[in-house]
Symmetry: C2
Subunit: 383 residues, 2 copies
């Protein structure tokens, strides 16, 4: 087992150079009954854990995210996916809090997933990787938190699939967190959300290069994965944000007659984003993680959502965005209603944004202020 | 040239056995500059043309529709796609009106399209088929109407892409129709609408069996076309209608543990509809027709939408549906505003429905009453 440093973050004013670390656990028992062994977890930390270990915040990433949530990657120079929310002076203020983010189980960015080598066969798991759930992802995060010697998290926060993990934390480990921030998320996928994920999966599996998942070392199912990502991108944006970003602008020169291969800017953007995704994401991880999202149902085993959330002891700040049609406000309100029906401590805000589901990543002004205040109040109470 | 009968409809109470007819025109000059020759048009008619030829209504079909709009097909026993709107006593009452519907240019259901044989080469056009526009489709419909000896249509009606054709008729042939019914449509696609179409096209072209479009006589690009159709289906329904139809119902037996290949009902439905589509639709037609929709912009050549619609002389009944997020109400309101700004005769209704874009096809109660009344009033004025 590799012992983690308390912090990987070198802080200078408003930026940090960070390095992803890794820890290996002997095994992880999964919901499906399989025991996965061993399990690596890639993670990053920012800031310093205080003496009484009361300032730790776990960040859970969304579907295609990774452990690199903040700072500048030492490896490739890229900023983290929530760098506008995490850092010195930011909402998750790394001068006050010790922030942790790990790549999810089933992922392809350092944590064990379908592309990892199965020690029994010496070959990548591919589609022999066991079924995983959001609960399994959270169970692995709990191992990491235990490993870091943190008895109780100040908060768990995340948007989209990250928000599902936040909800799961609150219900499965009620004594292990003080505050939960489920953002732009849901307690279970609707038929429409399942349908969009299924289109992505079918696009991947329709690609002959997918080869039943056994494409490692060969040609990647790039076309299928690219189409899947294109669908995803449309659902992450709003009608309005696409209009503002692309409108009906055309890539041909003014006055030229139209040819079949001429494209609107929105088309070339989607093609570019689709093809770019292939370089950083594994198609089988796409299948496993989207399936985990689809089968996630916080109420399962408890009868109702309210009965599930009754187990929670933490405070909640639930956030949704007006133009988010993928994880619409009504799904956040279901969580809020269930919490209120069991007299749980919950604040809720619907923030105005044109950015659709992407809002929690890109338009963070109001969200940052809400999180900052809620987190500080929680810290004052427990510190 | 095959001479059409005035009516193909055998009427008995509330049903009709109908047969698709065909007419061949020597040539059609297209917007792209190419002259297509010859051009076949598949069409059906229902009811009888009256003596002064003042009771003819043209129905324009949506993206994947065909000429079989009403009655029972003599060929395969299927009802027409708008059979709930067209027939004896229905909104488009075939006891009063002579109703015509033709398959669009570029289609694959009897009208000349990419799957038609190019007489010069003796092989299907495939991707050598010229670029087509909504205006080209309408120009071909005008030829059919002239051929049928109808000097002026009582009305042109259609939903979705059919509505685009209705708008084009009103602007291009202002003296040739008395009433226009653009339903669940737009004067131009938004970036989001283009994006969804582009995903479908990319899914088709990513299928190696597409072969650059030269798949005729060989293996069809079934996987790509199926994925494209799945995306389409999601956009045709609403979040609410998917919830009501499928919810999170699962196809496994109660108590069985979850396996990767187990599916939610919504998934198996989409897969089924996707695979079914392959049997009746041509992948290259998908490419050409969606592109025609995307490049359609009624304002083009006129500066503004209002300036384009100022050419229209007919009355308009514009209809949209509350849960239609693919062709949202704001797009219908743009048409209504433009018409009103030029003092054109326009009525507008937003109908309440949970069925999303499909509402104009499946929840036709209120729509039928609106159309019936508007059509009767128009007929009283001109008859």
């Amino acid at each position: 087992m590799i012992m983690p440093k308390a912090s990987t973050g070198f802080q200078s004013n408003s930026w940090m150079i960070v390095e992803t670390q890794s820890v290996r656990f002997d095994s992880l028992a999964l919901d499906c009954g399989v025991v996965l062994s061993p399990v690596d977890v890639a993670y990053e930390t920012y800031g310093e854990l205080n003496r009484n270990k009361s300032n730790a915040v776990l960040i859970a990433h969304a579907f295609s995210g990774d452990a690199h949530a903040a700072g500048i990657s030492k490896e490739d120079g890229r900023p983290g996916w929530w760098d506008n929310m995490i850092g010195p002076g930011r909402a998750f203020d790394t001068e006050k809090y010790f922030v942790i983010c790990s790549n999810v189980l089933g992922g392809c960015r350092g944590t064990t997933g379908p592309s990892s080598v199965n020690p029994v066969t010496g070959r990548p798991y591919a589609m022999t990787f066991p079924m995983i759930t959001i609960s399994d992802m959270v169970r692995l995060q709990k191992k990491l938190i235990d490993h870091l010697g943190i008895p109780r998290l100040l908060a768990v926060a995340g948007g989209s699939m990250g928000g599902m993990q936040v909800l799961e934390w609150a219900v499965r480990y009620p004594d292990s967190l003080c505050a939960a921030f489920p953002i732009a998320t849901t307690a279970r996928h609707s038929a429409q959300q399942i349908a969009f994920n299924e289109v992505g999966r079918q696009a991947i599996m329709a690609d002959p290069d997918w080869q039943g998942g056994n494409y490692y070392g060969g040609k990647l199912p790039a076309r299928g994965l690219s189409v899947a990502r294109m669908v995803g991108h449309i659902t992450y944006m709003s009608d309005q944000s696409m209009k503002e970003k692309f409108g009906r602008r055309f890539r041909s020169k003014e006055g030229e007659s139209f040819h079949f291969n001429d494209v609107f800017e929105v088309e070339s953007y989607l093609r570019y984003r689709g093809s770019q995704f292939v370089d950083r994401f594994d198609a089988n991880s796409y299948l496993y993680i989207t399936k985990a999202m689809d089968i996630f149902d916080l109420a399962q085993g408890y009868g109702t959502l309210a009965a599930a959330l009754e187990r929670a002891k933490c405070r909640f700040l639930v956030i949704s965005f007006t133009s988010d049609w993928l994880y619409p406000t009504y799904q956040s309100l279901e969580i809020v209603s269930a919490l209120r029906s069991r007299n749980r401590d919950v604040a809720y805000c619907e923030l105005s944004s044109n950015y659709g589901h992407d809002a929690f990543l890109v338009e963070v002004g109001e969200q940052a202020e809400l999180v900052r205040g809620f987190l500080a109040a929680t810290y004052r109470e427990v510190a």
